[in-house]
Symmetry: C2
Subunit: 427 residues, 2 copies
C-alpha cells in the first residue's frame, strides 16, 4: 500500500501527489460547481481512478453525471456525440478521467457547449478547419490523466480522426487548456505494459520534436496582433528546459516503468515527465513525427495493438509517432546537429567521438536501439503498411501544416515519401 501524500506539489495548473484525485470534489466545491459532467471511457469506468473521483464528488455533495462513451483515439463523430451529451446536460463544470482521448473529448465538449452557435469546423486547425480564435469563456475542466504520455492535462490541444478525410487533426487554443490537472501517480499502476511503452514514446517524441523545432524567433510570418499568434510558436528557451528535462526522465525511467507494473517510482516519474513535456511542446509545438503520425493512425487497416481493449483496429498514437522517429531525425539533423547529438547523449549514446555531421545517424541508431529494447514493432510494415500506401500517407500528412511547418528543415512531398519508406523497417 502506498502512503498518501502529506502535501501535494501545486504549480500553475497542475497538482501532483499520490492520492490527489481524492481532492477533485473539494476543488469543484471551491469552484461552486453544482452540475458536473465526469467523462471517461468504458474500460476505466470500472477501474479505481474513476471510482476514487466519484467517491470524492459524492463525499463533497457535488451532483454529477457520468459520460463513459469516450472513444479511444476519438473521431469527429465521437466528439460530436460527447458534445451533444454535454449540451443536453447544461453542465457547469467538467472532470475528465482518462488518457489523451478522454481529456481531448472533454475539452471539445466544453468548447462547443460554451460556443453553441459555432460549426464544428470553426475551431479546427486550418486548412482542414477554419482555425478561428476562441473568445468565449469556457466552464472549468479538471483533467485527471491515467496514462503517462499525452500531457493533455497541460495543453490546449484536442486531437481527433476526421473521418471524411481519414486523417487526424485537432483544435489548438490556449482557451481549452484544463483549469487544473490532477496528476495522481497511483493511477499509473493500472496501465498495461504496452500502454506505458506507447504513451512513453509520445513523451519521447514531444521532447525530441519540441527541442529540435524551428526556433521561435525564426518562425514567420509573425502575426502583428498577439491574439492571432499560433499556440505552437517554435522552440524557445522555456520549452527547451522542459524538453531536456522530460527526455532525461524518459531515458532513466521508461524501461523500468514498462517492465514492472508495481514500480511506482518509475511510473510516477513518467507521469510527471508526460506533464513536463506537455508544458514544453504545448507552447513550442511538435513537427514531423507527429505530422506523419496522423495518417499512420488514421489509415489503419487491421492492426490491433496489444494491451488495448478496443473494438476497432488501432495504431496507438505513441506508436504511430515513434515509428518514423529514426528517419525523421536523420532528415532534420543537418539543421541543428548539436541539439540532435545532445539528445542522443541523453538517451545513452556515447557521443564523445561523434562527428557533428553524423548527428542524425547517431540519434537514429540510439532511437532504434531504445525501441528494440522495448519490443517495438519493426516499422510501418509491422503495423500493416506497404510501399503502395505511401502516396496516401503523404497525402494525409500534407494538411498537418500546424505542426509540419515547425520542422527545422522544410520538406517536399518527395521528402515525406522517402521518410515513410525509410520507416517501413526499423531494425
Amino acid at each position: 500500500s502506498v502512503k498518501p501524500f502529506l502535501s501535494p506539489m501545486a504549480v500553475s495548473n497542475i497538482r501532483y501527489g499520490p492520492g490527489v484525485t481524492k481532492e477533485v470534489g473539494m476543488d469543484l466545491k471551491n469552484m461552486g460547481a453544482k452540475n458536473v459532467c465526469l467523462m471517461t471511457d468504458k474500460n476505466l469506468a470500472q477501474l479505481p481512478p474513476v471510482q476514487v473521483a466519484m467517491d470524492s464528488l459524492v463525499k463533497n455533495g457535488i451532483p454529477f453525471t457520468v459520460y463513459d462513451n469516450v472513444r479511444v483515439e476519438p473521431t469527429d463523430a465521437s466528439f460530436m456525440e460527447a458534445i451533444e451529451f454535454a449540451r443536453k446536460g447544461a453542465f457547469d463544470a467538467y472532470v475528465a478521467v482518462g488518457g489523451g482521448s478522454t481529456m481531448d473529448t472533454c475539452k471539445a465538449a466544453n468548447l462547443y457547449t460554451s460556443s453553441p452557435h459555432s460549426d464544428f469546423l470553426d475551431y479546427v486547425s486550418a486548412p482542414i478547419g477554419k482555425g478561428k480564435p476562441v473568445s468565449v469563456p469556457l466552464k472549468p475542466l479538471i483533467a485527471v490523466p491515467t496514462t503517462t504520455g499525452t500531457g493533455s492535462e497541460t495543453t490546449g490541444a484536442a486531437i481527433f480522426d476526421y473521418e471524411r478525410l481519414k486523417v487526424k487533426t485537432g483544435i489548438a487554443s490556449r482557451a481549452i487548456k484544463p483549469t487544473l490537472g490532477l496528476i495522481d501517480p497511483l493511477h499509473t499502476l493500472h496501465m498495461p505494459a504496452r500502454v506505458v511503452a506507447n504513451s512513453g514514446f509520445d513523451v519521447l517524441c514531444h521532447a525530441l520534436e519540441s527541442y529540435t523545432a524551428l526556433p521561435y524567433h525564426l518562425r514567420s510570418p509573425c502575426p502583428s496582433n498577439p491574439i492571432t499568434r499560433p499556440a505552437y510558436q517554435g522552440s524557445n528557451p522555456i520549452s527547451d528546459i522542459w524538453a531536456v528535462h522530460a527526455l532525461r526522465i524518459v531515458a532513466k525511467y521508461l524501461k523500468r516503468a514498462v517492465r514492472n507494473p508495481d514500480d511506482l517510482e518509475a511510473r510516477s516519474h513518467m507521469h510527471l515527465a508526460s506533464a513536463f513535456a506537455g508544458i514544453g511542446f504545448g507552447n513550442a509545438g511538435v513537427h514531423l513525427c507527429h505530422g506523419m503520425s496522423y495518417p499512420i493512425s488514421g489509415l489503419v487497416k487491421t492492426y490491433k495493438a496489444k494491451d488495448y481493449n478496443v473494438d476497432h483496429p488501432l495504431v496507438p498514437h505513441g506508436l504511430s509517432v515513434v515509428l518514423t522517429s529514426p528517419a525523421v531525425f536523420t532528415f532534420t539533423a543537418q539543421m541543428f546537429p548539436e541539439r540532435h547529438l545532445e539528445t542522443a547523449e541523453i538517451l545513452g549514446a556515447d557521443t564523445r567521438s561523434a562527428r557533428i555531421q553524423d548527428a542524425g545517424p547517431v540519434l537514429a541508431d540510439t532511437l532504434r536501439k531504445f525501441l528494440f529494447d522495448l519490443d517495438v514493432d519493426d516499422g510501418l510494415a509491422a503495423v500493416g503498411y506497404s510501399k503502395a500506401d505511401i502516396p496516401a500517407l503523404v497525402k494525409g500528412t500534407l494538411p498537418q501544416e500546424r505542426v509540419t511547418k515547425l520542422s527545422p528543415r522544410p520538406q517536399s512531398e518527395e521528402d515525406l515519401a522517402a521518410l515513410f519508406e525509410a520507416s517501413m523497417k526499423l531494425y
Copy 2:
C-alpha cells in the same frame, strides 16, 4: 540600434522579446480595456520604457491615466495612496512599468480596488495581517519589468514596509499574479550598474533559497482543502528546474551585465533569469536570506545606496538579501549538503575534492568571492548596522514566518542573532 523581434516568445503569462512593450496597447485593446491606469515611479516616468508603453496606448486608442507616485521600496502608506488613486479612477485594467516596487504597488491597487470592503490587513500575510484567501475577481494587470531581479511579473507577491512595525511584509496570493508580463530586454539598457548588481543578487537568492527550501512533501501542517494551501509550498521538482536554470544564467551573465550597460545579450539573459527564478520561487518560496532581509531594509538608518535616485535612506532589496547569504547557507547546508555543493559548483567553485560536510563553507566562500568581485559593501556594518542592532533585526525577522518556516533547518532566536552577527563583515 537593436533589431526588433520577428516574433516574441510567449509562454503562459510571460511574453519576451526586444520591443515587446510596443504590443501593450494591442493587448489591452484585445482585453476590451477602456480606462487604464499606468503605474510607474517618478524617475521612470521620464524614460523610454514608459514612453514606449504610452505611445502604444495612444496608438491603439486606449484612454489612460498615469500614476507616477510609486515609492521605491513601498510602504503601507504608499500602497494606500496608490489604492486610493485607483479607487477614484474606477479603472478596468492596469499597466505597471517599473521594478518590483511598481509591480507590487499595482498588484495591491488592483486587489483592494476589486475588494473595496476589505481592511488593508485582511490580505496581508499572517501573523502581521489576517492572510485571508482572495476570492474576488481582479482586473487585468500587465506588468512590464524594467529591472532584472524581482520576477514580480510572474509571482503573486506584493511586498511593502509596514511602517508601524518597521518591518517588511507582504501579500501572497496566486490571485494577484499579473495577467501578462511583457519582458522587454531593451528596458534593461537604462539600468545603472548597482541596480543591475542588486537586482541580480535578488535573482541569485531567489534561486539559492528556493532550491534549498524545505521540500514540499515535508511541509506541515497540510491544509485539508486545496484552497487554503500557501502560495509558498517548499522546493519541488518543478521549482528546482527553474532555480538551477536561473542560477546558471546568473553565474554566466551577471558580472557582464553589471559592468557593461550596452551588453544587451548579458542583460537580456538576466531579464529572463529574473522571470525564471520568479516562476520557481513563486511556488516554492524563499527562506532565511529573504526573511532576514526585511528588517535589514526596514530598519535602515542613513545608508543611501549608490545609483538609486531616491529622497530617503535605502538598502535596496537585493543588497539586503544577499548580505546574509554566506552565513545563511553555512547554517542550512547540513540539511541538504548535496544541493549546497551543487550550487557552489554552478557558481564556479571546484567541488571535485570537497567533502560533503564542508558544503556550507564551500558555498559561503564561493558567494563571498562572487560578491567581492561585484564590489558589494562589506557586510551589514557597511550599510550602517552594529552589534547593538541585532536584537531589533531578530525581532523584525520573527514575524516573517511566511518564508522563515521554509528554511530547511529550524532556527531559534539565538540562531538568527548569530546569523546577523556573522553577516556584519563579509571579507
